[in-house]
């Protein structure tokens, strides 16, 4: 999990690695350009837009959590304030007739998020750890409740609405169609991601990592950890504000839900599930969580429960997140021992899927017992009140668990052997 820093410093040193490095970014940009051409339905465009916003938001959160070691429970404050700033700016542009086209609006969202971070951050970042976490929670609640009271700024329950198409056109784009909004979001996503990645490669970015690892020692190499945390906090606020501005453009509204605890929780979820130790971790997390959120809400009323289970599973069994799981395999690939582990994975797939199906069936049975649609699992319909369903769920859970446990143990053994070989060959410290 600690190979991130290593690989990036190597990349800078080796031209071949540099080529691969730029290749990854170019591939990402290409995917963003091509995606809406392959999936052009309105539904997928909306999903892609939301995912893009979520990625910027999660990456901004990881400046705090992964880079600087600050656990915030109120990051949505900057996102929300960015959203409100963008809405007010859009309305001001329209009413004053300023020549500012829509693509520049997210910048004002960023400035909104930054402004609040600059004001509140110095006090907040005085201490890290629990103190910071508690203050962030308090500030989050404070701002969320203020937004309902200060009606002139936040518009109360209904929020502030705006019309993105009323702004001056740019290159003939009105930004009415979702496709144009998607490209606007994709553009800001690329810009923000590059900026945030570059930030990790600066002296400040490196010292952020040092503050995360050992704030005490940082003081004895000349740095004030408070200042480091403060600057990091301001950057995180700025990029969260950009994400909020993009959301305001996408929905043409900003309301109190933007800055609330649920939004703050979601970004923590996404970032942690994706993995905080690698720059691309939050990207994976944001894609997965947003996709699940959109997909699961249509399928089941208990979608938050699944979120919770996934989150707990990651925290307990893979604290490095999805990115950590993936990157664990890198030394094995380099040492050429990955193939010895793959068969044990394949063996484990069947019982693990059976276990998962059993859990899903059990949850849905409880959720739909007092009425609801039949449970549709792989095209098979189960009735929640039928004992057959209960029995199937029980067999899958119990049977799946015992067989899966054996299979997982085999994975661990195969893994140990492969890792030992990799260690001998010098690919694993």
């Amino acid at each position: 999990m600690t190979t991130a820093a290593t690989s990036t410093s190597k990349m800078a040193a080796e031209p071949a690695g540099g080529l691969r490095f730029y290749g990854v970014w170019l591939l990402g940009i290409l995917v963003l350009i091509v995606l809406p051409m392959i999936f052009s339905s309105g539904g997928s465009l909306t999903s892609f837009s939301l995912i893009g916003i979520a990625i910027v938001f999660a990456l901004s959160y990881n400046i705090l959590l992964g880079q600087t070691g600050l656990l915030s429970f109120g990051h949505a404050v900057h996102y929300g304030l960015g959203g409100f700033a963008a809405c007010h700016m859009m309305n001001a542009v329209v009413s004053h007739g300023w020549p500012i086209p829509l693509p520049f609006i997210p910048l004002f969202g960023g400035l909104g998020g930054l402004a609040f971070a600059v004001i509140i951050g110095w006090v907040m970042t005085k201490r890290a750890g629990t103190v910071f976490a508690m203050i962030s929670l308090g500030i989050g609640e404070l701002v969320a409740s203020s937004s309902l009271i200060l009606r002139s700024v936040f518009g109360g329950e209904s929020g502030i609405t705006t019309d993105r198409t009323a702004l001056p056109k740019m290159l003939g784009w009105s930004f009415g169609p979702q496709l144009q909004v998607y490209y606007l979001i994709a553009f800001w996503l690329v810009l923000s991601a590059i900026a945030m990645y570059a930030l990790t490669r600066t002296p400040l970015g490196r010292i952020c990592n040092a503050v995360r690892d050992n704030p005490e020692r940082v003081q004895f190499i000349g740095y004030d950890p408070h200042v480091v945390r403060y600057i990091a906090f301001c950057f995180a606020g700025f990029f969260a504000g950009i994400a909020g501005g993009l959301a305001a453009i996408n929905f043409e509204i900003a309301n109190s839900a933007y800055l609330g605890a649920i939004q703050s929780g979601l970004v923590l979820f996404s970032t942690f599930i994706g993995g905080t130790a690698f720059f691309f971790g939050p990207i994976l997390g944001a894609i997965l969580v947003t996709y699940l959120q959109l997909g699961l809400t249509n399928l089941t009323t208990a979608w938050q429960l699944y979120f919770g289970i996934i989150f707990i599973g990651i925290v307990m069994y893979s604290p490095g997140g999805i990115a950590g799981l993936l990157m664990m395999h890198r030394p094995l690939i380099r040492a050429g021992t990955l193939w010895t582990v793959i068969p044990s994975y394949l063996v484990a797939v069947v019982p693990t899927v059976a276990l998962a199906c059993g859990v899903i069936l059990a949850i849905e049975t409880v959720a739909r017992f007092s009425g609801g649609d039949p449970i549709n699992l792989f095209g098979i319909a189960f009735i929640a009140t039928s004992p057959v369903t209960w029995l199937t769920a029980a067999i899958l859970v119990v049977g799946g668990f015992f067989v899966a446990r054996l299979a997982w143990r085999r994975i661990a053994e195969a893994w140990d052997k492969a890792a030992t070989v990799a260690r001998d060959r010098g690919y694993l410290a």
């Binding site: 002296p203 010292i207 190499i221």
Partner: protein
Amino acid sequence: MSGAVSAAIEVRAVEKRFGNVGIIRDLNLSVAKGERHAIIGPNGAGKSTTFNLISGHIAPTSGEVRLNGDLISGLRPFEINRRGLSRSFQVTNVFARMTVWENVRCAVLWATGHRYAFWKNVDSLPEVRERTAQILDDIHLTHRRDVPAGLLTYAEQRELEIGITIASGATVVMLDEPTAGMSHAETDRAVALIRRLTEGKTLVIVEHDMSVVFGLADRISVLVYGHIITSGTPEEIRRDPKVKEAYLGEEAH
């Protein structure tokens, strides 16, 4: 007061109390520029506390500490560090998840003037790269440069600890038990390392291994119950009856 200015470290009448308990009482210590000065004393005498007081980790209750003539007591650790005093820790205190290279590089950044810069690429700063490479070479960890510091062996971590401490180019270096827990061979290596790396600098060292102390130090101060009972050359300390009674006596028999 030309005498005070010529001293690298001047501790005068420093007291430290935690509640009613006086840990350090009337501490006086003078370390000349370029001197290798060892502080010895029985366990619990307050050696590490003395280090913490000088380096700003804790503030003295009363008294004053001067670095090259400037008053530094009451300043924060990073402010003292920026004035040219660097210290290591008794318990290894590195950046565990970062690589050896990154550990040393972070310690180089402030001194090379890059501070909180967020507009420069850290990989394209030649003076930072050269200095980091030089330090890694000095502490013999070049071959381990890409290993996370937390995965180093204990002796390697101690060497890295020294590397981080000297990386800023501080003129006053304080090492807190640099050879603690090392084997004989490792200790010899570490002493040679310290001797070489602190050439021309002022060194203050806390050490339990008497062969290290007497082999390395120009002067020795003996700390007992938070008070320095005597300072002198190794020869003077060896002969001092007070020292024998308070400290060496217990260990010699």
